[in-house]
Amino acid sequence: MKNTLLGLSCIAAVALSSCGKDKTPVQNTTVDEQEVITQFVNVVGNPNYADIQVKATALNTAIVAFLATPTDANLTAARVAWKSARQPWEQAEGYLFGPVEDNYYDPTMDSWPLNRTDVDALIGSSDAITLTSVDALDGFSKGFHGIEYIIFGPGGTRKAADITARQKDYLKYTSESLLNTTTTLRDSWLVKPADYANEIINAGKGSTAFKTRKDLFVTIATQMAAICEEVGTGKMAEPFTERDSTKDESSYSHNTTTDFINNVQGVLNVYTATYNGAKGTTSLSALVASKNAALDTKIKTQIQTALSAMALITPTFEKAIYDNRDKISNSQTALATLQATLEGDLITFIQTNIKD
């Protein structure tokens, strides 16, 4: 019996390893580290930050159209534009370092929870609502979730006719303020000579942010792991363990699961140097594969596992907290596994293989 088991497991092992072999990418002899960095900037970072601004512009245009003609159809269009603007932003959270952190653009645009009591009080007051006054508000009284609160409303059921004149004022300037922040953020990456893209490309060659290339790669890997942790043990955990859907991040729009998936899509983007259909000529994945094909496969598989697990959270995260709990806990497990691989194996790989 024992022998049979042994035989079986041998066969299984052989079978598995041959399966593995089929998937193993062709081993590159060398992958140019500098090219990996350049591709990350040109294919992921720059287009992603530009895209955030483009989508925020479209959101603002949709809101302006709704304010001019406040129909339910225009409100729906604004909601679609809001969700569309969330996508590049949430994906950029897969590599949350640089100006977005250093200059506090993240809390300015995406503070959560929204200070609903204060927003309601402001709207209910006779204080002037202008671009200047909205700019001066703390992050938690404006940004993505301020807009979300007005256009979706609690429960996501708001009608165009229910939105008051003061709410419209608040919506108008909150949207403008958000657009301005995304413009500044984009420029901080792209506009020379002080562009952060250049800081990254010059890692180890005079960059002040990254004295060595190893610094940069460790930072990238750390941030990939950090977003997995934030989603799995941060954003998912509290509403899940407390069985309270009011504790979800994008609960008005029911966009919570999509936000999470986009966060992990951001991790995949960084790792494989892909964004919005474009694919870099080389990537961190290719670099890992050239020296440790098994690790590359493991990381890609675990990212896909996490994405697939989260895709099963239906119909909304808010509802799944109560009646689809295993889907959420499976996602958390997948994210924790991925996080451990990134923090452990990937960072060790970088420490070992990236010399300068």
């Binding site: 370092f97 929870p113 009591t117 009080a121 703390d138 750390t222």
Partner: protein, 457 residues
């Protein structure tokens, strides 16, 4: 003869053994100058290097740390609200992390949503426990923000006067001297009030600093300068609200807080306006901003304890490039300049059978935990228990080289006036005057070596 040789052999043996014994006084097996936090050290040089959990915590402890981590990031909002209610009504910022960015030192601005500077206030005299005397209508801390519909206590204005100086060799540096003034006061303020600006300090290694035996700290004190070296450090003894007793002060820029529990609880209450079991009364009680809600304490005891535990279990980043020749040279100069008289390299934490992560650890915090006269340039002229108006606690230097990475571009000293380590050194005065002069008269190459050493911490 035989007897003599036996005796001789025995004497030799004893000598040899004694020699062996002596050898043991050299650094022990596990001594490693990279391990700034002993076993609680992490090898991380990224912008998140201040936010790592102690390695090797048990599953349970790791869970509590994570809960504390999540609570540390929680943004509070105005009550009533389904999530995190209770902000203010007056406050300095809306979450722990809003000031302690990346668990590090913050930005030296006041009143913005990313500001990390707060201002303490008091009037001449002392309270029943020997502490500073609250300013009527304002308390001991100025809250310069308020929820919608309430008035902040004031606006804090910071103005800098920048002066360019030269080192003896001609290289220049600039020091910006801050002036703090108040405007938009919500009510009259007593004359003769004293202000003390305080920047949010970094969060790592606090559990280790709490574990240094009081006897070790007190043994380093020399208030009467009996050894004649010009250094007169002394301990600050303060009133600890959590235990209702007088204790050695360890935390805060003037060592005015005895325990992490009190530190965390006071920050919730004073900085965010979140009442808790240690400080159950709103910071605006008795003032026009008071909300009168019957929702105190606003923070669960378990959350308070988890955040305390989180603060106690953030690991210290390891030193880098310890064998680099320039850094070695810089380290030697650091010692020759007698910087180590206060910035003590190595201390050992006490035995703690209940929490082995901080127990009996050889650590390199570069502090003596004592308060020292730092001269008139840095003085806030606001006594805080036994710490005088010119006295500040020796700031731990571990992790110093990562400030610019974690909180770019990096600010230094109690109010963030220094924009570089050079500026921070050149602000030293009082007991540290001769060490500052030592640094400034070094050759450019040697000054750079010392800075390189400090950046390796």
């Amino acid at each position: 003869m035989k007897k003599l040789s036996v005796i001789g052999a025995l004497v030799l043996l004893v000598l040899l053994l004694a020699k062996c014994q002596k050898a043991a006084q050299f650094p022990a097996d596990k001594y490693d100058e990279r391990l700034s936090g002993g076993d609680a050290t992490v090898f991380d040089i990224t912008s998140h290097s201040f936010g790592n959990m102690f390695p090797g915590l048990s599953g349970y402890d790791a869970e509590v740390h994570s809960l504390g981590d999540a609570a540390f990031s929680k943004i509070f909002v105005t009550a009533p609200a389904p999530i995190n209610p209770g902000l203010g009504t007056i406050f300095n910022n809306n979450s722990c992390i809003s000031c302690h960015h990346n668990d590090g030192i913050g930005l030296p601005t006041a009143g913005e949503s990313n500001s990390s500077l707060l201002v303490r206030i008091s009037i001449p005299g002392t309270d029943a426990h020997g502490g500073p005397l609250a300013a009527p209508g304002y308390g001991l801390q100025l809250q310069d923000k308020a929820v919608f519909g309430k008035t902040p206590e004031c606006k804090v204005n910071i103005a800098y006067n920048e002066v360019v100086y030269n080192f003896p060799d001609g290289e220049s540096y600039a020091l910006r001297a801050p002036t703090y003034t108040l405007s938009n006061l919500y009510t009259a303020l007593s004359a003769g009030y004293m202000l003390s600006p305080r920047l949010a300090p970094p969060m790592y290694g606090l559990g280790l600093l709490e574990a240094i035996p009081e006897s070790t700290i007190v043994a380093m004190a020399d208030p009467n300068d009996s050894n004649g070296d010009g250094i007169k450090g002394h301990a600050n003894y303060v009133w600890d609200v959590a235990t209702q007793s007088r204790k050695l002060g360890r935390f805060g820029w003037k060592a005015n807080t005895a325990s992490l529990l009190t530190q965390v609880a006071a920050a919730y209450n004073q900085d965010i306006g979140i009442t808790n079991k240690i400080f159950p009364v709103e910071n605006s009680f008795g003032q026009s901003q008071y909300d009168g809600l019957k929702d105190d304490p606003e923070l669960a005891d378990s959350t308070l304890n988890a955040v305390r535990f989180y603060a106690a279990t953030l690991a210290v980043p390891a030193r880098r490039d310890v064998t680099d020749a320039t850094n070695k040279r810089g380290e030697l100069l650091f010692k020759q300049g007698k910087c180590e008289s206060c910035h003590r390299q190595t201390l050992t934490t006490g035995i703690n059978v209940a929490f082995k992560s901080v127990s009996n650890q050889v650590i390199h915090p570069y502090t003596d935990m004592l308060v020292h006269d730092m001269g008139p340039g840095l003085a806030d002229n606001r006594p805080d228990f036994l710490a005088g108006g010119q006295e500040w606690r020796t700031a731990p230097l571990w992790g110093l080289g990562l400030f610019e990475k974690v909180n770019y571009p990096g600010y230094y000293l109690h109010d963030g006036r220094a924009r570089s380590i050079t500026e921070a050194i050149m602000w030293h005065g009082g007991e540290a005057e001769s060490s500052k002069v030592f640094f400034s008269t070094l050759s450019k190459v040697d000054r750079d070596a010392m800075l390189s050493f400090l950046k390796s911490l």
